[in-house]
Amino acid sequence: MEILANLSDGIWLSLQPINLILILIGVTLGLFIGAMPGLGSVNGVAILLPITFLVPPSSAIIFLAAIYYGAMYGGAISSITLGIPGASTAVATTFDGRPLALKGRASLALVTAALASFIGGSISVVLFTGFAPLLASVALSFGPPEIFALMLLAFATFVGLGGDDIPKTVFSICLGLVFAAVGFDEISGEPRLVFFGITGFLHGINFLVLAIGVYGIGEMLWTIETTRGKITSTEAKMSFKGIIADSKEGMKRGWRQTLIGSGIGFFVGILPAAGATPGSLMSYSVAKMTAKNPKEYGQGHPGGIAAPEAANNAASTGSMLPMLTLGIPGSPTTAILLGGMVIWGLTPGPRMFTDQPEFVWGLIGSFYVSNVFALVVNLAFIPLFIWMLRMPFTVLAPLIFVLSVVGGYAATRDMHDVWLMLVFGLGAMALRKLDYPLAPAVLAIVLGPIAEPTLRQSLLLSSGDPAIFLNRPIAGPITLVAIVLILMPLVKFLRDKLRGNRAGTAT
């Protein structure tokens, strides 16, 4: 019951007027930072970190965590309304969010995203509260072989992502992996795949640049091409009644995916190395793979919004865990928060819960409060976002273009990436015409940089023996499941092919 006493102290602390105001400002700022393409929670937290010297550390962390949270809600907004991922964590949200908005159901998409975010955040904060020390030891037991096994599992779920055309899916994955390998090799430190000797490739291909190119520019070109400018802008109107109806529908069709997203997101979040972006992408692919009718995904299924949105919020809470208990950031944003804690004179690490209970529990308490506020603020702003959608496409398309260019530049502050983004936009358009699935490439470029070093570290550990992935207690079962998943569609594919051949010869 000590936990409950600590928690109620923490919630009480976060309800102090100053903290409450900071939460409100934080989630609202976060919402807009998240919604701006190219600006994500990392930038928001980094920009606002210096401001926090004006308040005590416990309030400062509450403020920054509120921004982090708000940005997770906000990322969905531009993903849905404009088709440009607002942040890397919201890329998976575009897969179904944009099609749903084009069907005139933007309000359903936005409401589903807000609710799934809220539920994902709430579930993970309860897990956080109850099992923090235990989960910290789980995170520690994940060494390179375990993390690689997990990546393998994620790749296995991809195969289910690309529809039925497995060779095209595999091609798309390989393309993503090649892009992921550009830049410096982390292990030897040597530059590789620096195309045409252009120095801009030395820093690698930023994931967000690819995602904005593919989904922002590519989507805009596609819409222009397919509609010849005669796009019917959405008729969506907002009312209180509408929100209630949309909530019911969103949750009815997306509750299962919300739970999947919450679970996977939280778990991936607590592993240092991953973070909310892989968490949301993996949740989407698992939700699609386990769906009764996977073909509905990508066409505007609320479940395809619920899974990644629940996951990115769950992961953002989860990634606080290794930060507080191990002093290791679980995501790029927590890396900056960690720096902040050092500046405030705190030492994150295993003794944090005992040495700084007020700070830790104040932060945990604020998760509960921030979540409620973020939901309310988000729902309150939905009419504004819908209004944006009612602009004619002739106005919207240039807006998307400008926001994409700004977003592509903001990610790395390098013009090279803006050109690269435009190239990706054209490339995406071409691949789409040829009916190649693009999501697997996007997933591969996120997971590649995690999978490659862990694979090489594992094989160094085992002196080159791949059995290391099978004979370790945690890595073994994960690897087995991954192998089965990879083989299943291949078997199915070959069987169908055989049957098809036989049918072909019969006629």
């Binding site: 060494g143 030395l202 900056i336 050092v342």
Partner: protein, 320 residues
């Protein structure tokens, strides 16, 4: 190894005194946000220091334009060096460095980086290295550790071949006749975490990176590679006490882009001198076990020269 840290401090002191005579007002003021490039990824030792420096400047209101941290850790810092070399506005581009400032251009001559073209700004201190093991290994002394390693199959982790910690590990191997398997990681934080999770058996990490796990008793320091014992762990012997003339530190220095104007250089030198003398930075050095080593601009160039020579030897010993 001829020029030790202590003589350098003396040298620095002498030059600092002579520098007091004339301190002309700087004619340069930044006109836009400053690109504050960090030669390492987010979350590591160098990154923490960079963000700390930024926050002190911010807190004390020392700047009219902000320092904007920009992580470029790719290729052991090669990405950052190339970015500085090609900076479009050298007066607004500065870099937080570590020893890869010396090793990366040596290991990758193809990059065409000559560090003497960079502009010295400030040496903020040097970060010592310590040998750590997990408490469950039962090892409490360096001698026990040697016996354990000599049994064979010993695995250590670090931030990559040719990086600071790997040079120290190579020194251990060659001086004590050991054979150690080395697993490279992305940063010091990941190394510390995998030692705490016992994925690897030992590490050579900066005290700041292992601080949390040391406080909780999960990891045990065995040997310090500093000139003197560290205040934070007074019972830990130095390698010099074992009769080996060796010490190794990671530099925590700020440099300007090649081609920075003299006025701009003077501005940043004054700025970081002010930061260096704040109680915030002095407290930070104490709590993170950094050793003070203040160097003026000209002494930094001399320091670079000796460090490049020294790293040439260390890398050659490694067979690089």
């Amino acid at each position: 190894m001829a020029l030790t840290k202590r003589t350098l401090i003396k040298l620095a002191g002498a030059v600092a005194l002579s520098g007091l005579i004339a301190a002309p007002a700087t004619a340069f003021e930044p006109t836009k946000p400053i690109d504050f490039v960090i030669m390492a990824g987010a979350g590591g030792g160098a990154d923490k220091i960079a963000r700390f420096l930024q926050s002190v400047a911010e807190k004390k209101g020392l700047m009219t334009r902000p320092l904007v941290p920009n992580n470029k850790g790719g290729g052991s810092g090669a990405e950052a060096l190339i970015a500085l070399k090609g900076a479009s506005d050298p007066d607004h581009t500065i870099l937080v460095t570590l020893n890869s400032f010396f090793t990366t251009p040596l290991r990758q001559p193809g990059l065409g980086i000559d560090i003497q073209t960079f502009t010295p700004v400030a040496m903020m201190g040097v970060d010592p290295f310590v040998l750590w093991v997990h408490k469950d290994s039962g090892i409490t002394t360096f001698e026990q550790w040697l016996d354990e390693v000599k049994k064979g199959g010993y695995i250590m982790g670090g931030t990559g071949k040719g990086q600071e910690d790997s040079l120290v590990i190579t020194f251990l191997e060659q001086t004590f006749g050991l054979k150690i398997k080395y697993i490279p990681y992305k940063g010091g934080g990941a190394v510390a975490k995998d030692l705490a999770g016992q994925q690897i058996m030992a590490t050579v990490n900066n005290p700041s990176e292992a601080k949390g796990f040391y406080a909780s008793g999960d990891v045990v320091p065995l040997l310090a590679f500093s000139d003197e014992r560290l205040a934070a762990m007074p019972d830990v012997r130095t390698v010099k006490e074992l009769g080996k003339d060796f010490s190794y530190y990671n530099q925590r220095a700020v440099v300007g882009a090649p081609g920075m104007s003299d006025d701009a250089a003077a501005y940043y030198q004054k700025l970081f001198e002010t930061i260096y003398n704040t109680t915030e930075w002095q407290d930070y050095m104490a709590s993170e076990s950094l050793s003070p080593l203040w160097l003026k601009a000209d002494d930094q160039r001399a320091y670079w020269k000796t460090q490049v020579e020294r790293h040439k030897e260390l890398l050659a010993a490694m067979g690089e």
